[in-house]
Symmetry: C2
Subunit: 159 residues, 2 copies
DNA sequence: ACACGATACTTGCAATTGCAAATATTGCAA
DNA sequence: TTGCAATATTTGCAATTGCAAGTATCGTGT
């Protein structure tokens, strides 16, 4: 006599099903957990997620303009602007005037910034290893392959 | 003669490698894109991500307390509290006093709330289909299997 | 040369979020 | 029974974020 409310088993089961077996939900969960771990590890170096992404972009193309840094990534212009403010204050990057255009900044890693990157790659390597090690060896390559196909298929946006 | 700055090819290549081939980065990108799509579709119904997650939790266990709703999910107590404020204002849920404890609220979907869920499941189904359809048919089950192994392995946290 | 729309970046302000304190209630122990 | 730590939820406030407007510069057409 402890079921006064009529429940709705079909809906309830569908919700449970969705939460435990849908690709999107699982994807969210995995991404959230790896992001949390990344944030924790980055905090040791005084960095936030956005800052880290900007550093990665700059490592890949030193001397990029702020627009170029944000391009194709999930970062709005003002996010890049404010991330650079912080990174400059930490002495990890520097803005220089573009030779051709006075409204464009060319951004470079400082020596300190470059010196920091190996530790960051170390963190990424560790976390990727931790993640993949949850899969049996024979599945790891397969998972990477599927992720690659998907990320290439979904096109640009969100970094 | 257009390379005045000595660059660092090893770091640059490592950054590129990381951005394009690491599991974590690809995971982030996929999750971000599906989340963005979800947000867009939810906005049609006047819902935000948190609200949707709370509705899912309530569908799975009607009459849950606010603490129970947040439990195991990525939602802090105050997030649940404020999400319920909004959902109650929209008439989708209602807080009732618990019979045993005056400090606990039991939360229920209203008829309107229940009526909304099928469309939401429709959205989730669509998006999951869109995602999986980026993979050849023979890989779709495999991807789901790997995701399932991983989400179960990483344990609780983040929903 | 000058006007005007486009581009690159920055910033004010409002909305959102997270932490930490407040409120209300409970259970347990002295 | 009384006081005190624990639990459940709410809320004030500070930090963060996003939008939209602001500043500066550029390029193009006249």
């Amino acid at each position: 006599m402890n079921k006064p409310t009529p429940v709705h088993p079909e809906l309830r089961d569908q919700a449970h099903q969705t939460r435990t077996t849908s690709a999107g939900w699982m994807l969210q969960r995995l991404a959230c957990m790896t992001e949390t771990q990344m944030q924790t590890r980055l905090k040791v170096h005084g960095l936030k997620m956005d800052h880290f992404i900007v550093l990665m972009a700059l490592t890949e193309k030193e001397g990029a303009s702020q627009t170029e840094i944000g391009e194709g990534l999930r970062l709005a212009g003002y996010t890049v602007s404010r991330a650079l403010d912080a990174l400059e204050k930490q002495g990890l990057v520097e803005r220089k005037q573009d030779a051709q255009s006075r409204r464009t900044h060319r951004v470079f890693l400082t020596d300190d910034g470059r010196a920091l990157m190996p530790s960051i790659f170390g963190i990424i390597g560790d976390l990727n290893k931790d993640l993949l090690d949850q899969l049996p060896a024979e599945d790891q390559q397969e998972f990477l392959r599927l992720l690659t196909v998907l990320t290439q298929a979904v096109g640009s946006g969100c970094g």
